[in-house]
Each structure stands twice: as structure tokens, then as C-alpha cells.
Symmetry: C2
Subunit: 192 residues, 2 copies
């Protein structure tokens, strides 16, 4: 996917209604009723918004060719009609993680934590997009975004729980779990 | 090294005097007499400047632990008194490069092109810093910066020539080779 910047605005407007916001680790994020996902580098609206998070759809940092082939065979795109549930999980990893060389981060991420192979078990139920934020100087390193049908919510919860028990998660120092439901009849007026 | 954003301004001011600017591949960059390297995300000055390039000192994308150990044992820092020569080589790689999975980029970068092992042969003569620009939506993916003593200029030229002959360079679609000399008595007034 090409490098595109996106802005996620937490506030009164947007097509995603917030059902819950749980601070899993580190400082919380101010609670908001809605989230808007906007293409481009957008400013925080003057009214009706509490926070803004930005991220870039960028190149893959760990996936091998073999893993890519497995993933592309089964992973769905965003915006499926039945996938009315979403999760936004912003994550920041520790300085200790980023100081590791590439081979050790890869070993932690996949060989020891099975991040990719665990995720594969939940495809095509869960669609996924990763926004990279670290190089933008944002408060989180990644904004992880997932979409799934209501009938797959328990499966998604199971995936998230497995990842949180993995060795990789020892390096997660801030994580907010935000659950959303699509609501296309949302008010958009405050977003000015 | 921590994530820090830097701004490089091409114009009338700055401690680095431009000796030459050669467009190796792709569109040229406007010729300027001086370059200023500033910490932070700085705006393009209203007067006396032609262009601004930004980049972030970020985590390592390809280096293994073994390579890191070899590098840290011999690599010098920036700002050595004798290293009065510098080169700024902004580089953009092709979409084909960024679409490759991590294992294939790593294989091209090191196994087949020897980027790290070639660079090691020129240490500690050449100090190096890499600024990452791709996720910032900049015109280049990287700003590569080198500092060396005048007596090591030929060695540096040899290193650059070897890299340009490597398979990795088939994926370089824009490259400007800017050579500089330190000049601390530079005028800084126009940088407002």
C-alpha cells in the first residue's frame, strides 16, 4: 500500500461511534463519543474534538515473502458491509524495543510471539490496517485498526488476549483499547 | 539513537558551504551556496532559502545484532574536528523497492549488495548519520549524511561508487550528491 497519511479525530463527529475506551497500559486518552478517520494530514477541529492521532500506511517492517503470500490469500479489505464493528488500538513500545536490532525485533515479533501466525488464524474474519506513527513524533508508535462482523467479536477478543500474553507485549508501554460501531448517520457538522 | 526530527535548509545560511551538487538520478534539487542542519521541525525561512528537507533519526531497519556490534566498535560520531568535509546524499527508492517484503529488502541490501560490510571497510574514516524521511511524506526517502577528513575524500568517493554499482541501487530512482565543507564563520542572519 502506498504511503498515505491519515488523521483520526476523537470528538463529537465521525462515522464510528465509541462503545468503550479502556487504558490497557500507560496514560489514558480522553474519552470521546465518536471517531472520524480522515485521509490526509488534518488539523484538530477548533470545536467538537478532543484529540487527533496521525499515522501513515507504510511499507512492511517484518513480514517475509512467504508470510505475505499467506496473508494476501485470505486477508479482507476494510469497509465490508457486514463488518460493522471496529477496534482502534493505539500502541507505544518502549525505548528498549526500538534499541533492539532488526533481527532481534523480528525474532520477538514472530519467532517467539507468533504475531503473524496468530493473526492468520483469525482471517478472513478480521480486517486489519496498520498506521505507522513513530517517525511522525506522535504519542503512539502505531495505530492498529480492525474491522469485523458482530458475530466475530469474541474471536477478535481472543486474538487480542493472546497477543497481550506474548513476549512481544513486554515491550508495550502504552495501549488504549477503543471499541467502535459503524454509524453512518453520524453528525459531521462539528468537524470544522 | 532517539527519534529526533531534523530540518536541512538549502540557502544562503548555515555552517556547511556547498562545493558541488550533482543530480545522480531523477529530478535535480535547486543549487544553493550553503546548507544549515537544524534540530527540530523548522519552517522554510521567508528569505534566503530555496528548499527544506526533513528527516528523523530512527530505529534501524536492517542491521542485525552481529552487524551492530561490528559497527559500534569502530564508527565515529559526527562533529570530529578533523572531519571538515561532508556529503549530503538524499535518496528516493522506487515503489518496486517498498513493495518488497522485509526479507527480500534485507537480502538485496546486505546479502547481495553488501551495504553494511562495504561501509565497514571505510570506518572509522567516514562518520555517518541516516535521516528517515519516507513516513513524513518528504520528496526523498532518506537523507544520508557523511563526515570525513579531506585526506579521506578519495576513500569516500570509492565507497559511494561501489554502492552505486550494487544491485540495491537498481531501486534508487532519485539521488543528489551534495559535497560540503565546514565553514563555521558562515552568515546566519538570513535564516529568519
Amino acid at each position: 500500500m502506498a504511503n498515505c497519511i491519515f488523521t483520526l479525530i476523537g470528538g463529537m463527529a465521525g462515522n464510528w461511534k465509541v462503545l468503550s475506551m479502556v487504558s490497557v497500559a500507560g496514560a489514558p486518552l480522553e474519552k470521546v463519543p465518536r471517531i472520524a478517520v480522515l485521509e490526509g494530514d488534518c488539523p484538530l477541529p477548533m470545536t467538537g474534538a478532543q484529540w487527533r492521532l496521525r499515522g501513515v500506511t507504510s511499507y512492511e517492517r517484518y513480514v517475509t515473502r512467504a508470510e505475505r503470500n499467506l496473508l494476501t490469500a485470505v486477508q479482507p479489505g476494510l469497509g465490508r458491509a457486514e463488518a460493522t464493528c471496529a477496534a482502534l488500538i493505539p500502541i507505544r513500545k518502549s525505548a528498549r524495543w526500538w534499541e533492539l536490532p532488526q533481527d532481534e525485533r523480528r525474532a520477538l515479533f514472530e519467532t517467539r510471539s507468533g504475531h503473524i501466525r496468530m493473526g492468520l488464524e483469525y482471517l478472513p474474519a478480521v480486517a486489519r490496517r496498520l498506521y505507522h506513527s513513530r517517525d511522525l513524533g506522535e504519542p503512539f508508535d502505531f495505530l492498529t485498526w480492525f474491522e469485523y462482523a458482530p458475530s466475530h467479536e469474541m474471536a477478535f477478543d481472543e486474538l487480542v488476549a493472546k497477543l497481550r500474553r506474548s513476549e512481544e507485549w513486554n515491550y508495550v508501554e502504552r495501549e488504549i483499547d477503543i471499541r467502535l460501531v459503524r454509524d453512518d448517520g453520524a453528525p459531521t457538522a462539528p468537524l470544522v
